[in-house]
């Protein structure tokens, strides 16, 4: 692996000062499961790796707030997937987090890291989009907040400047009784990237949310399909109309995992399953 220096700032002041000083020649280390591969493959060659592990103010857990939850930058995929409140209120996120990589990867890799890596196939990103996520971004000059959909620009690209870091992701509390699910298609069941990912949530009032991953330059909400289903999510013909709208919204590429035609077909298959599952969890206006 190419050589680099290493710093372990003890607090946010030291951290942002380092990021300001080194800018694009610094890489931020949280779980490292993407960064270390990027460095060893030569995709990134930082002069300095800045670890977040010693920064006193940064959190490695999910914090319950009065109006939602906050996922700390150091919260691992395992921590998020196993968190009782995430499993209960943000079920799709728990289901997506447990489908990333292997146990060993999930024990190190973080949800915030999965977001910042900005893979179009990132499982947690697709699921997060259901829940109006807002990122808290910090630099020496101050804090800003940004919606996840604005933060993601394209494959591997985010609006994060060289001297900024994401310190947490806030998810507002969904309306009482919202049920959700994440469905992933991959070539094998474990330890593989998503060929297609579909996340769906259902409110008891009949509002539906749909997010699609790995079928465009970034994961996105299929808004036309959501509107089609609004108020009438259980009618089979209406579901088929919505599925066609989601398939039109998808712009998949062909690559070694699948052709674009196959991906578009599978958007339909997975969305049908995801809707059934979310609606079943929301039966009779009483979500689990």
């Amino acid at each position: 692996m190419k050589r680099f220096n290493y710093a372990e700032p003890k607090n946010l002041v030291e951290l942002v000062a380092l990021l300001h000083q080194y800018g694009a020649s610094a890489s931020i280390l949280a779980g490292g499961t993407d960064l270390i591969n990027h460095i060893s493959h030569g995709k990134r060659s930082p002069k300095i790796v800045v670890s977040l592990r010693g920064v006193a103010e940064l959190s490695n857990t999910v914090i319950e707030k009065s109006e939602g939850i906050e996922i700390g930058v150091l919260a691992t995929l395992t921590t998020v997937a196993e968190h009782p409140l995430v499993r209960q209120r943000y079920t799709a996120l728990a289901e997506a987090a447990v489908k990333v990589g292997s146990k060993q990867i999930r024990n190190r890799g973080t949800v915030v890291g999965n977001v910042c890596n900005a893979s179009p196939a990132a499982d947690t990103v697709t699921a997060l989009l259901l829940f109006d996520p807002v990122l808290s971004v910090l630099a020496e000059t101050g804090r800003r907040t940004v919606a996840l959909s604005d933060f993601l620009l394209g494959p591997g690209q985010t609006s994060l400047a060289a001297d900024e870091l994401v310190e947490s992701i806030f998810l507002p509390t969904p309306i009482e009784g919202t049920a959700s699910t994440y469905r992933k298609l991959s070539r094998r069941e474990g330890v593989d990237l998503a060929t297609v990912g579909v996340a769906t949530s259902v409110e008891w009032s009949g509002n539906i949310r749909i997010a699609l991953g790995a079928v465009g330059p970034k994961a996105f909400r299929a808004v036309a399909a959501e509107l089609q289903l609004k108020g009438n999510p259980r009618d089979m013909d209406n579901i088929e109309s919505a599925i066609r709208l989601a398939q039109v919204a998808a712009e998949p590429i062909s690559d070694l995992r699948a052709s674009n035609e196959y991906r578009r077909e599978m958007v339909g298959a997975l969305l049908r399953q995801a809707l059934q599952q979310a609606l079943a969890r929301c039966k009779g206006g009483e979500c689990k």
């Binding site: 050589r3 680099f4 270390i36 670890s51 146990k103």
Partner: protein
Amino acid sequence: MMIESIPITVEVNGTIQRLKVMPHHSLAVVIREQLGLLGTKISCGEGECGACTVILDGKAVNSCMVLAVEADGCSVLTIEGLAKNGELHPIQTAFIEEGAVQCGFCTPGMVMSTKALLDENPEPEEEQIREALAGNLCRCTGYHRIINAVHAAARKSSVHSGETK
């Protein structure tokens, strides 16, 4: 810019080690080259195969994906830390008895993932075993005997409860 080694203190298999490590060296490299513990294997070097699995502060991790400097202040358990007083650990015995070892290259990683699983969940279901070992690749056995060995190890541990700790 001069790149210098960094002092770390890490507990490896119960012994405190004070080491100077290069920032770009993975924990796997330091375990093998500086501590001479060659049971931990480096195969893919990118977190796919699990041959380098060790237990870091109670969690199974790919030691090729952890910088050695990040282990400062942590406790590491490698395959060499399992046998006690010349007696194999029940998981190791189970792997031998069930014929779960062929070429042996993946075995240390498999055993460490099993150890982490059984510490957390002493009586896992088959599905939980498969999930815990999904990040450990074996090109010889076809996995059935490995899964059997994990079941057998869980049974042994429930007989001698506490012995896997």
